[in-house]
Amino acid sequence: MGRPSHNRSIGAALAEHIQTALGSPPDLICRSVTTEENRSVLIIYLNSLVDRKTVDEFIVKSVRQNAFAESPAVSGSRYLRELPLASPGETLREEAVRAAVSGQCVLVDEGRERVCFIDTYEAPGRGVEEPNAEPTIRGSYEGFTENIRVNIGLIRKRLLNPALRLEEMRIGSRTGTCVVIAWLEGLAPEALVREAKRRLAAIRTDSVLESSYLEEYIQDRILSPFPTILNTERPDKTVAHLLEGKVAILTDGTPYVLIAPLTFFDLFSSSEDYFQRADIATFIRWLRLISFFVAVFAPSLFVAATTFHQELIPTELLISLSAQREGVPLPAFFEVMLMEIVFEIIREAGLRMPRAVGQALSIVGAIVLGQAAVEAGLISAAVVIVVAVTGITNFVVPVYSFGMSQRLLRFTFILLAGFLGLFGILCGALLLVAHLVSLKSFGVPYMTPMAPLTKSDWRDTLVRAPRPWRDPNRLPASVRLLKRK
């Protein structure tokens, strides 16, 4: 009866090999189950990555009742993969190790002389919660999670449409992260989809832990303060953009989904605009545009007005401001710079602290510090007001990464204003316009409805036109431009 012992030695050897390959981790389970015909079957899996309920009830029980291999529903699907026992030891071992590591259940069945790999992957993870970076008053509270299957489910739930195409890629030699490109067939231009696939395929990296890794590889221009790819945690926003013919890139292990192409005016629209009434949404959108200009230009205009063109300030205000400045040592430029840096430090500290403490720290910190500095005569009160206002307006814009780029711009403009006053700010603004206009996101000009003037798009950028007025199947100009290519 050599054959069975010979077979058992293969199963044991295989288990032995996996044990050594994975460095005998505590969560590696090796169970031998005897079927009714008292044949022993070896089951090997990592219980941290496996759905224990499926393994215990379904696999073990069906193996015991020996009804396992014959049931047609199970065999032949991706769900089950088989390898003949006689296949060369090397591929068998390698296949087994990769299967065990990726959460599959390795089943050595000497009786039927085959090794089966059953996909029972069930990673631990957080449930669907409200995205804390993009809260909305009205609209769904569902946010993406780290598990890509859940994310795909959240998108499919809202898009019961056969035209939704999902294409999976493995990126990262070491982490082998699963990246899925989603688009709507017939709506998204082929050029855009081809370009997205080409750029993703061209990525040579060892690890992809967050979608921002991908973003840096596939974005159009690296040295630019403006994001050319949108990242969001909200499935409704993703579906809205998919319906506009854009491409979404989901990454396993991170709730942030990348959406391309992105234009300048998309940065100012949040998903809430589409759930609120049209006129309120338009007002809020204008509010965001104004807050963008305030956040970037307010401190530099203050510095320019107080140090170069004092005649801009009305007389009464000029008198009270110069009274405030009596005895303040620092010139206005350094004062504003100092307060900006202090404000940034407080904000960063507020973020890093646990939520309850963080909230208190940033508000108390800013006010107390500002007030104390004013009393001590280090800073004039007007500077504290200006810095506080710009700090707050910085958060109005819905895309958080754009908020950070606003800070970069603000510091450069303060520098220019300190050097040349309004003329410096003008040069900075012209450079900014030149940069924005030359920027492209996946072939789509960044300032689309404004730079290559397309009138039809104004309905959805500066103004959110009410639904009845909008032609539903008319794609935004940015995407239509690509269709023509």
Partner: protein, 397 residues
């Protein structure tokens, strides 16, 4: 890779240059905020005396300074120079901060300097782009030194007090108008037209002006500045004066819009009429070779202040309107005859001829004997709160 390093190097160098040198930068507390400018010239010695009133930011908000606060809201600096250009330099002997003229609210010129001619003052101010010429110009009746050292109640600085008084006089008494600024003097003098500027004088004093105790007294009629009459300016030189009554007529002719009050003879008595002028229109006609200037003036009559009589029938209204028109016409005729006798052309006849008939052989003679005909149309529009006056016997009118 080299290019990126070069770009970074250039950026760093640029920002270093940025920080080190800022040429036009002046901090707020390095500015001397000039609120009033006084110009004077001594005819004999030719010495210019420039006085600047600088706002003291740290003093309290009221004109008299905080009660008990010893700081004065404004300081007057004085500089005697041979040429105007030296003025800026001379001031830096006294003022520790940079002169800041943008917020000047009023410019004063002494009577004697106005009589000698103010063209070089104006050239100097228009030369410097930082000094605005859209600032009201006052002629001082009396010593400008005293005027520049007098506080005025209620307003923080005397300049603000003077400029807001002009606006009130223009709206409510028509004793001033929109064309009282330095740029109007320039334009009128260049176009050989006449202009009348408001005059400022010091009210009687009860103590030396610049001591603190004087301004705590309740009587605001003394120790401050008063606006009275107008200085007639032609070709940058003051040639005469107008009293307040004539000033209203001048501004009427000048086309200024504002309300004014007149005592109008009506049915062997007098009524006080509140009139609103809607501006004048001039037309040039020819009657057998002689230019005739028709000045059309539309007035709106209101019985708001008419406590003597109240029209009840249509005829009464027509009669009242006719009486007002005739009275105003007579006053304007008398005023023009008097001023044209002195050779003044306050109605702007000469410039009208220059514009409408540029190819006239001898414009001055034609302007001198041009006939002026007034067409005044008065409309009864506004009325007070009473539909019939009280007729008790205790009245005086």
């Amino acid at each position: 890779m080299f290019r990126r390093k070069a770009a970074a190097a250039v950026a760093l160098a640029l920002s270093a240059a940025l920080l080190s040198s800022c040429w036009d930068k002046t901090e707020l507390n390095e500015l001397a905020l000039v609120s009033m400018i006084g110009l004077d010239r001594d005819p004999e010695s030719g010495i210019y005396t420039i006085r600047l009133q600088v706002i003291n930011p740290t003093s309290g908000s009221t004109a008299r300074g905080t009660p008990g606060g010893e700081q004065s809201p404004v300081y007057t600096y004085e500089a005697n120079v041979r040429t105007l250009a030296e003025a800026d330099l001379k001031f830096y002997h006294l003022i520790p901060r940079k002169l800041f003229l943008h917020h000047a609210k009023a410019v004063l010129i002494s009577g004697r300097a106005a009589r000698q001619g103010m063209r070089d003052f104006i050239n100097f101010s228009e030369l410097q782009p930082s000094a605005r010429t859209s600032v009201p110009l006052f002629v001082v009746d009396g010593s400008i030194g005293e005027v520049m050292r007098t506080y005025t109640p209620l307003e923080r600085t005397p300049a603000e007090s003077l400029s807001s008084r002009i606006e009130l006089l223009a709206d409510y008494a028509l004793q001033s108008g929109r064309d009282v600024e330095v740029r109007d003097v320039i334009e009128r003098s260049e176009r050989d037209e006449w202009i009348v500027l408001p005059m400022v004088a010091v009210t009687p004093k009860t103590g030396n002006l610049d001591s603190r105790d004087v301004d705590a007294s309740i009587d605001a009629n003394r120790n401050q500045l008063r606006l009275n009459g107008g200085a007639v300016i032609r070709n940058y030189r003051m040639v005469g004066r107008l009293d307040d009554n004539e000033l209203v007529l001048y501004h009427l002719l000048n086309g200024d819009k504002g309300t004014f009050v007149r005592r109008v003879p009506f049915r062997n008595g007098h009524v006080t009429a509140v009139l609103l002028s809607r501006g004048t229109k001039r037309r040039l006609d020819w009657e057998n070779g002689r230019p005739v200037v028709r000045i059309r003036l539309s007035l709106e009559l209101s019985t708001l202040a008419m406590n003597e009589y109240h029209p009840r029938t249509l005829e009464d209204i027509r009669a009242l309107e006719k009486a007002v028109s005739e009275s105003i016409t007579d006053e304007l005729d008398a005023f023009l005859d008097k001023t044209r006798a002195k050779g003044w052309d306050l109605a702007g006849i000469r410039s009208l001829l220059g514009r409408k008939a540029p190819k006239l052989p001898n414009p001055d003679r034609a302007a001198a004997d041009a006939k002026i005909r007034f067409e005044i149309k008065t409309l009864f529009t506004g009325m007070g709160n009473l539909s019939r006056l009280y007729e008790g016997s205790g009245g005086t009118s």
